[in-house]
Symmetry: C2
Subunit: 325 residues, 2 copies
């Protein structure tokens, strides 16, 4: 096995994980995201009320593939791993309650780097009143971060599933669409020092946020189907439309690139519609509902009989998305 050299930013000084050892490293991580549930063979989470169901999802991120140390701080890497998973929980209409973290780290990883990563996780889980309840840290050639999120689905309403969109419903969205992809394009073009005023796009990529409880609110106010914009708007909605046996028509004006995206498009020589339609990684909650847009959501399209996804009744100009391999 060859050694892949990972270059950690110079500001992460102090002992490496190999110098400090596993137990001390775990203590450092737990201190950044403390939880009374932590510290045994497994974490015992909660006494579930009647009708409560447990929800689980997992995501893995690999250095050089899903994040780069020259573009993202460890706080951002940790925070994004949480948001990716919690968005999947919210997209079921459930409440994220816990996360576990597995990290493969090169032996030369500074402990201060992992502490910062755990700090970023702690900041995000607290926003959701959730806990980091356990984990595993192992040696690996390539920095790899795997988070599994546990959610609680209360009440008697069904979860928000991909197969439950119905003709006549509106498609609603809570959050930005295309900002993450615009930010990635700026990072590729400029590195972390993007043109003034466009940091919001960079940060949308390196540090996405979602508004906690939007999934629960959508579910409690009549939404039936939901997903999040993770692989690309058209790709993700095509999956939902196919599972539900419907067509979705997006409102061109409602998803049009904003002024920041238009400027970023000019600077990088990209059609900003590509970011909107094929971008992904915004983790914006997309739901279908027969009622008005729930609090925090706006209408961006309509569900009808048929199949596939259109924009203003036409085939989308960009329909690609994230490709894992």
């Amino acid at each position: 096995m060859q050694t892949v050299a990972t270059i950690f930013p110079a500001r992460f000084t102090g002992p490496t994980v190999a110098e400090l050892g596993e137990k001390a490293v775990i203590r450092e991580i737990v201190a950044q995201a403390p939880s009374e549930f932590n510290g045994d063979d497994a974490a015992v989470l909660f006494n579930a009320p009647p009708n409560s169901r447990t929800v689980v999802t997992t995501d893995m991120a690999v250095e050089g593939r899903h994040f780069r140390l020259e573009w993202s701080t460890p706080e951002e890497i940790g925070g994004k791993a949480i948001i990716q998973n919690f968005a999947d929980v919210e997209a079921m209409g459930a409440r994220p309650v816990a996360a576990v973290l597995a990290v493969a780290a090169p032996t030369n990883t500074p402990v201060s780097f992992l502490r910062a990563l755990a700090h970023g996780i702690g900041e995000r889980v607290v926003e959701f009143s959730a806990d980091l309840v356990g984990g595993d840290i192992v040696a690996g050639e390539q920095l790899t971060v795997s988070v599994t999120a546990i959610g609680s689905l209360g009440g008697s309403l069904p979860p928000l599933t991909l197969d439950a969109a119905r003709p006549g419903q509106q498609l609603v969205a809570a959050g930005r669409i295309g900002h993450s992809a615009a930010g990635l394009a700026l990072l590729e073009h400029y590195g972390r020092e993007v043109p003034e005023g466009l940091e919001v796009l960079r940060d949308a990529h390196t540090s996405p946020r979602i508004d906690p409880t939007r999934g629960m609110i959508a579910r409690s106010t009549g939404a039936t189907a939901a997903t999040d914009n993770s692989d690309g708007l058209i790709v993700d909605l095509t999956t939902l439309a196919a599972a539900s046996g419907v067509t979705i028509d997006l409102d061109r004006d409602a998803i049009a690139p904003d002024a920041d995206m238009i400027r970023a498009g000019e600077l990088t020589g990209t059609d900003p519609w590509e970011w909107v339609l094929a971008g992904g990684e915004d983790h914006t909650i997309l739901a279908t509902t027969a009622g008005p847009a729930p609090s925090g959501f706006r209408v961006i399209g309509r569900v009808a009989k048929g199949s596939g996804v259109t924009v203003g009744g036409e085939r989308p100009a960009h329909s690609g998305g994230w490709v894992s391999f």
Copy 2:
């Protein structure tokens, strides 16, 4: 980023993950361990009965560090990832109900290899009446397998925790101790073709098994504390003894190496007591109880006032264990 070349065994022919693409690879994996819970943003697991608590734990395994492709089949790698996690759930006195799988795979990974890995997972989860309910597959330089297990802790009894051993209790064990480390020594010495009759030791390392429900049975018959033999018998029991504020004295005869281990020790020039005391990875459930040994358990020691772990009243000859970094 340099490319780390992973050599897959020649029998795994057919398309690679890069050739087949993510969606088709996921279908192949799901077919090997099918579950009705799979296929949405997150998996909705179950309606928890009153008093039920959810338990969660995670483990990560990296090629070259935790397993080697020349020693372990993909079926064994997948199965071992399940057992490592389910043993942690059992060690809480809970029932494993679900697992999620995250895999980082080099782009040249044959799909047939991942299918075999998923098949090994499917074989193990079925033994526990559990399901593989979701996952993530991403590209990475180094094959990395991360499993998170979800368990259900029913009834009103507390979980089996590290801090609940009490003086006067017996220490009981369900399963072999030291076999996995003996098998690892044989693999290092001979490769996969170990001397005839000692395959049982090799398989204990590459394909550990635990007897489902032993944790629940221990908890329902009066055990209060438990852990599993994962990092090393002395290391794991020292953690339990320290958390509980007690000492544990092991019965030398009850844990003595068996004939297979003595033979493997002679062949490899190793004191088999090292495997017993420092070996780990057997995932044998170790519990403390004031009552008689529960069904499937045998008595291997006693809990008393004091601190630390002894063997027949003396300091153990070997007290090391697994070192992550």
